[in-house]
């Protein structure tokens, strides 16, 4: 174990530079993020991930945000276990009818001020699953959404860009 730790110390860090924020996403956020709330929370945001129907592809890439290359925590962003500790809900997938109530309850359990970030093409409008008897559609059909990060699944850099935009809007 010591050897691995020592090697890691001697090596240059794998962590990559932060991506620049996205103008398009900034525009979407402009109206929804209040400056007062932003000041109160500072640069630190707690994120609760909710999967109300994803194929689990988005989850894999959200997981990757915690690896050495993207290192989400250096920006003051970290994942929390309960919506009651969260400022941001990161919601993936189309919302299935079977998960609607759970998503609503998770949203209601999150204290104000809060933001909802919908992740992935399915989260926009149900994507490839829209039209199914079992699917409601995009996340905004159930809870208000402040920011969409598109992709199938979005790459970690795209996720990072979206979250940093939220942080600095």
């Amino acid at each position: 174990m010591r050897r691995i730790l020592f090697d890691s110390l001697m090596r240059r860090p794998l962590t990559e530079a932060a991506p620049v924020k996205d103008e398009e996403m900034l525009a979407e956020l402009g109206a929804s993020v209040e400056r007062a709330a932003r000041r109160r929370l500072g640069r630190s945001l707690s994120i609760r991930e909710v999967d109300p129907g994803s194929c689990n592809g988005c989850e894999l890439e959200i997981h990757a945000l915690n690896n050495a290359f993207y290192d989400l925590e250096r920006f003051g962003l970290h994942f929390v276990a309960s919506p009651r500790h969260a400022d941001v809900l990161l919601v993936t997938g189309p919302v299935t009818r079977n998960m609607r109530e759970a998503l609503e309850r998770t949203y209601n359990a999150t204290p104000d001020p809060k933001w909802v970030v919908a992740v992935g093409d399915c989260a926009v409008d149900g994507g490839i699953f829209s039209g199914s008897y079992a699917v409601i559609g995009g996340v905004s059909g159930v809870v208000p959404v402040d920011l969409h990060i598109r992709g199938c699944p979005p790459r970690p850099t795209q996720l990072l860009k979206g979250l940093l935009t939220l942080l600095e809007a």
């Binding site: 174990m1 050897r3 691995i4 730790l5 794998l14 991930e49 909710v50 999967d51 109300p52 129907g53 994803s54 194929c55 689990n56 592809g57 988005c58 989850e59 894999l60 890439e61 959200i62 997981h63 990757a64 915690n66 690896n67 050495a68 290359f69 994942f79 276990a81 309960s82 919506p83 997938g93 189309p94 299935t96 009818r97 079977n98 998960m99 609607r100 109530e101 759970a102 998770t106 490839i128 699953f129 039209g131 199914s132 008897y133 079992a134 699917v135 199938c152 699944p153 790459r155």
Partner: protein, 502 residues
């Protein structure tokens, strides 16, 4: 024992490939159930159709697969689950989706229909759903000092939703009961009437972590149905993608299992290997998870000549780093203390349920779809299927470690032999009715896809995730363990919610 086909009496359906499909009467269906129950055959899948139920069975000794069909003119069929428990949840799903009743099934509760849909029996005779949702009765537990812990559907980590109902006595789990179906998206209904392109994209989004394996099993089924020969280069590229997917997932799992035992160093190091694998995939195939890269008839695009050097560099790096991590895993007593003898799955249960992947192989069941039924190019490649007998979390970690080593050796061979030439043939789904069955070995086990093509489109497609036969075994493996070890056991199984819920 006589070979599978000789023992089933039924009417053979023309145009079903590569194995036969036989329509049997109720007695023939019961006979098949008794063969499964006696352990002569293994259940590969059971699914509904319009007015009929199919099941795929495997005779491991004879290396034969057959699909058996029973017609249900009165909306009923004899329950297989009554004799053979692995069929129970599959039959509940048939009841929810098709309204076909498994007579004498031990479980009459809904499974995928949690009471939130507008329709009942969405794939069968649709009717409006009842306005009120019935309460779901969990299995009773009786005894002094027992308490229940309900967990989910929204869990604490970045994972998929599902409900776990623990009954514990102090710290010890007396019973775990799962309730799934939360991410049911109606994939099979979306498949019906879809073009091959759309259906292939849907198949690739059944369980995102196994997108290559699903696309591959789907392609195998289409190619069997249409009798299409895939160009050799495409066959090797598919195997390259499948092994890269296996590597990425095994790295992720080994790290995550150790992380659930609070050993975050392994998690961080394995995360690096996983990321590097995904980056190689991105640069070769244009997508980190390689979604939509495998298509019926071949692969979507040729990665070009640079791909070989790229993947070879990845292999070199993995070979340099991974052995150190294996040594770290093996020599950290505090970690072994958590994984060894935890969550033991008995070998006979693994065999009874036909558990695939690391769940089966850690409990003595050597089945691997790459070997049986087998598909190219694996018949021309040299590799072993690692098997352990302990059945604990530790054994499931070791299967993954050994499989990483096998995948590295496989990729070596693939890169060396990668043929030149075309990577795709056009498939013309003529209007004929054709049926096909396809399998592929995903990182967590064998994926089975069955389909009927009609009028140039998909008429019916069923996708069976390996998790169907692994989830119930997790309930068995956790019994007698402490509640705090559940995350560890759960991660060592790493079943798919989305693949199961469809």
């Amino acid at each position: 024992m006589a070979a599978l086909l000789d023992t089933i009496e039924g009417r053979k359906i023309a145009g079903h490939h590569p194995c036969p499909r036989l329509v049997v009467d109720e007695d023939g269906w019961r006979f098949a159930a008794s063969q499964l129950s006696a352990g002569h055959w293994t259940l590969l899948g059971l699914w509904g159709d319009t007015g009929a139920v199919h099941m795929a069975v495997l005779d491991e000794g004879a290396r034969e697969i057959a699909v058996v069909t029973v017609l249900c003119p009165h909306g009923r069929f004899p329950s297989v689950g009554a004799l053979h428990p692995p069929a129970i949840r599959l039959e509940c799903a048939v009841r929810d989706l098709y309204g076909l009743e498994p007579v004498d099934s031990p479980d009459t509760r809904p499974w995928l229909d949690l009471g939130f849909w507008d329709v009942q029996h969405p794939l069968g005779e649709r009717r409006d759903a009842p306005a009120r949702r019935a309460l779901y009765p969990f299995l009773p537990t009786v005894g002094e000092g027992l308490h229940q812990i309900p967990v989910g559907p929204v869990h604490a980590g970045i994972i998929e939703p599902g409900h776990f109902r623990f009954t514990a006595n102090g710290e010890t789990v007396v019973r775990l009961e799962q309730r799934l179906g939360y991410v049911h998206k109606g994939i099979e209904a979306l498949m019906a009437g879809a073009t091959l392109d759309t259906a292939a994209r849907l198949a690739g989004r059944t369980s995102g972590d196994s997108t290559v394996a699903y696309a591959l099993a789907f392609a195998h089924a289409v190619e069997a149905a249409m009798n299409v020969d895939v160009p050799p280069r495409a066959i090797y590229l598919r195997a390259l993608m499948a092994e890269l997917e296996r590597l990425a997932n095994h790295f992720g799992d080994v790290g995550a299992i150790c992380n659930d035992a609070s050993f975050s160093l392994m998690h961080a190091q394995c995360g690096i290997l996983r990321e590097k694998t995904l980056r190689a995939a991105q640069s070769c195939f244009g997508h980190r998870l390689m979604m939509d890269a495998v298509v019926p008839g071949g692969v979507a695009r040729d990665p070009g000549a640079g791909c070989v050097a790229e993947v070879a560099a990845l292999l070199e790096e993995v070979r340099r780093l991974f052995p150190k991590l294996v040594e770290l895993y093996d020599n950290t007593a505090s970690l072994q203390d958590r994984t060894a003898t935890t969550g033991v799955l008995r070998g006979e249960l693994a065999r009874q349920f036909g558990a695939g992947g690391y769940v089966g192989r850690a409990s003595g069941r050597a089945f691997d779809a790459r070997k049986m039924p087998g598909y190219p190019p694996y018949d021309r490649l040299d590799f072993e299927v690692p098997v352990f007998d302990a059945g604990d979390v530790n054994a499931r970690v070791w299967v993954r470690i050994r499989e990483v080593e096998q995948s590295l050796a496989l990729i070596d061979q693939i890169l060396r032999r990668l043929p030149a030439g075309a990577v795709r043939v056009a498939i013309d789904p003529n209007g004929e009715v054709r049926e096909g069955l396809g399998m592929a070995e995903a990182f967590r086990g064998d994926v089975l896809v069955w389909m009927r093509l009609e009028g140039g489109r998909v008429a019916r497609c069923h996708l069976r995730d390996p998790s169907w036969f692994q989830w119930p075994l997790l309930e068995a493996a956790i019994e007698g363990n402490i509640v705090a070890d559940f995350p560890l056991c759960n991660k060592s199984f790493n079943c798919s919610y989305s693949g199961h819920d469809l």
